[in-house]
Symmetry: none
Subunit: 234 residues, 4 copies
DNA sequence: GATGAATGAGCTTTCATTCAT
DNA sequence: CATGAATGAAAGCTCATTCAT
């Protein structure tokens, strides 16, 4: 079991094997319950080599977080065409997100559960990634506010927030936070509920976020585009 | 440091002290990093007494989860007046939720992070509580669908889901999941962002969930009630 | 489970209950694995009371050994009629011995296994008892040497041990030791082999010891008396 | 104290050192009272190394039992020339047995006392060895019955057990049991009594077993061979 | 470059034993 | 007389980490 014991590989390759093994072990056992012995065995190398390349358990875990955070952000970025309207961008981004987390459950466990659970410096690593995503979503919300119905927004907002022509920054931050939080939660739900595809999860969340429960009740859901999110997603 | 060393307390009292110390320690250090030594010291008793009363680290952790899950559910229940319309019930529930989690961050860490991160049987304990809350939210969504605009719902929905006069069950489940997930996420955000009150967090989420981003953009937010959520919250 | 919780018993009775529980627990679990908690619970009293009466685990174990050693020696003594010839005395003694050990396996485990296994001062206690029995057997051997065939003994022995008209003391001691050891071993074997009665065990050993394998081979076994060992045994 | 601290030994060597230390410690302190700390120190290694190689206290103890059981059986086997008559084989086997147990008192304590006292799976291990020995002795008894005086055996036995031309199986089993038990007991006695050599112990037992007390009384002891049991013993 | 050998430190758990009532 | 409350001390076991080859 584990990687086939191939000797004399270049360092970069060996490191990736170790990170693979580590992500899998950390994701399944948890950070503390995972033992360096198990990781080394799964990677098909001896323990001292792990230490030589990755320094310590903390550094190894941090390396896992960084690699997987980058992979997730890259996957989402690659899934979004930036020339589309905001709601379509969000739709595509969610699709890519659910696809990636569904295909890499251990990585998602490391990012979403393990890293946040074991304090600094791990939580900070994942927070950085999360803020990137939240910033992206915030952009989309603001873009939507501008592009979608500028004049309606103009007057209606003026009535509501007379002294502040913009949506208050904190309010938007909260909205983005809520949206991302809902997405994270749905990722776990979709993984655990058999038969829920990434597309369905994305559709559910788009409905929820874009139309709102009020409009949903009134039979006015957000309309997903006819064509699939695109083969370039995942 | 720790509780004042008062000797010879009745068992029930000591047990609560131990649970207090355990929740605090588990919440801050994490389940695995927390040592029984530290918990015992914080509780002001010797380690054997902790084992005599709570049996094992696992049992102690489970007892913490159960106590705090019940406390949270009770707090939310106590904050909701069941004779109000659905959106008001949700508003009050969210207020109570954010208030309780804000006031008990260690307990919230135990429930939201630690218990979910360390597998069975802990995850199961908190899943049970979560399902209770998701069920409650599901009820509210369905109630809203019925009470709010029955006729609009009637014809408009019929157009959308011709073969199914109701919102598909899984769709509602997904919506409730997303709502609860967003709330959980906002709880952490509100705790971490200075100056965000439980009320504000609840308002943000109500807007997000009830009006939807689309309506928000159009300047049609959900309107929170004039009077505060009431002194009976928390 | 355990003794019925009857309050206010005279000390002597309570002590016997405790010793009963202790013998059973020590016999089944072993000295070290037996916990004072278990003994106290089985005796139906609280732990401090055990300490009040018996002082310590060591003292409790010693008390068990003494009581059961005395009980065993008394049983053997009661089973032997001292006016009979030596071989009949041995036969009766063995019968009483196998009967008692068969009926009190926990006590026998305490004496034969536990006490010897856990060093001083316990081994010493049981050694004292054992020496008493060995001395008794030694007497029987010497008596047999005198009574059975005095003249044959006289000349034949003189030829063999010319400078010592008696069987050398150490030789007799070794014989007694061997006989007692064989008896102890057969006690465990008889307990473990279904269908072996105390009588049969005693007969086997009498044959072995009295006639010797050589005579047995020649078809000249020792003849057990017709009448049963008697109801006065045990 | 303990072994000289030599670093970096091959695993097989270290394991034997550990077993040496364990046998000594278990033999002197008893299984439960022996601590892994003490064993490790006596072996001149750290505790984790003991666990790395021997897994657990139970496994370590089992390994001791197995090694010493094999050593004892091997010693007895090596001491017996299978081409001699039965009584001579027994005589040589007893000599080897008393020699080995006398030279390895801790090993004998482990096998005879500790292993039997602490239940399964330890008792089973030593029972297996014991059965091997009992079977060997049983063979010798039957062989003696056949070879020694066939015709005397023939008619005399027929008179005693008319319906069964053989000594009943259970009777022989009991005799072997008694003989082995006597030997075990004499081993402890010989160890504890200064000045008793293995040869003397063996002679005492041969007399007891082969001639029987009856013949001994009559001045007809079993005659040990003139030449010593042979330099190939131990 | 790669590894078998080795350990310091710390964890959970248990037990005999004793106060204070 | 009897006990619920409480603990010091130690045991088995595991792990991240490092030499020496």
């Amino acid at each position: 079991m584990g990687a086939v014991k191939t000797k004399r590989m270049p360092r970069a390759v060996r490191e990736q094997q170790m990170l693979d093994a580590a992500v899998r072990t950390f994701g399944q056992r948890g950070y503390m319950a995972a033992s360096m012995d198990e990781i080394a065995e799964l990677a098909g190398v001896s323990k001292p080599l792990v230490y030589l390349y990755l320094n310590s358990k903390e550094d190894l875990f941090t390396a896992c977080i960084r690699r997987e955070a980058k992979a997730l952000v890259d996957a989402v970025r690659a899934g979004v065409r930036r020339d589309l309207p905001a709601d379509r961008q969000l739709w595509e981004g969610l699709g890519a997100f659910f696809t990636h987390t569904g295909e890499n459950p251990d990585a998602w466990s490391v990012l979403h559960l393990q890293a946040r659970t074991h304090g600094e410096p791990f939580a900070g690593e994942v927070t950085a990634m999360r803020e990137e995503i939240v910033a992206f979503v915030t952009q989309l919300i603001l873009a939507a506010a501008r592009e979608a119905r500028p004049q309606a927004l103009g007057c209606a907002r003026a009535a509501r927030y007379p002294h502040d022509p913009e949506l208050p920054e904190r309010e938007v931050a909260g909205l983005a936070e809520a949206l991302v939080g809902a997405a994270e939660s749905l990722a776990a739900w979709a993984n655990a509920t058999p038969g829920v595809t990434p597309r369905q999860a994305a559709a559910t969340l788009m409905n929820f976020a874009w139309a709102g429960l009020g409009d949903l009740m009134a039979g006015r859901p957000w309309a997903p585009p006819e064509e699939p999110p695109g083969p370039h997603v995942g």
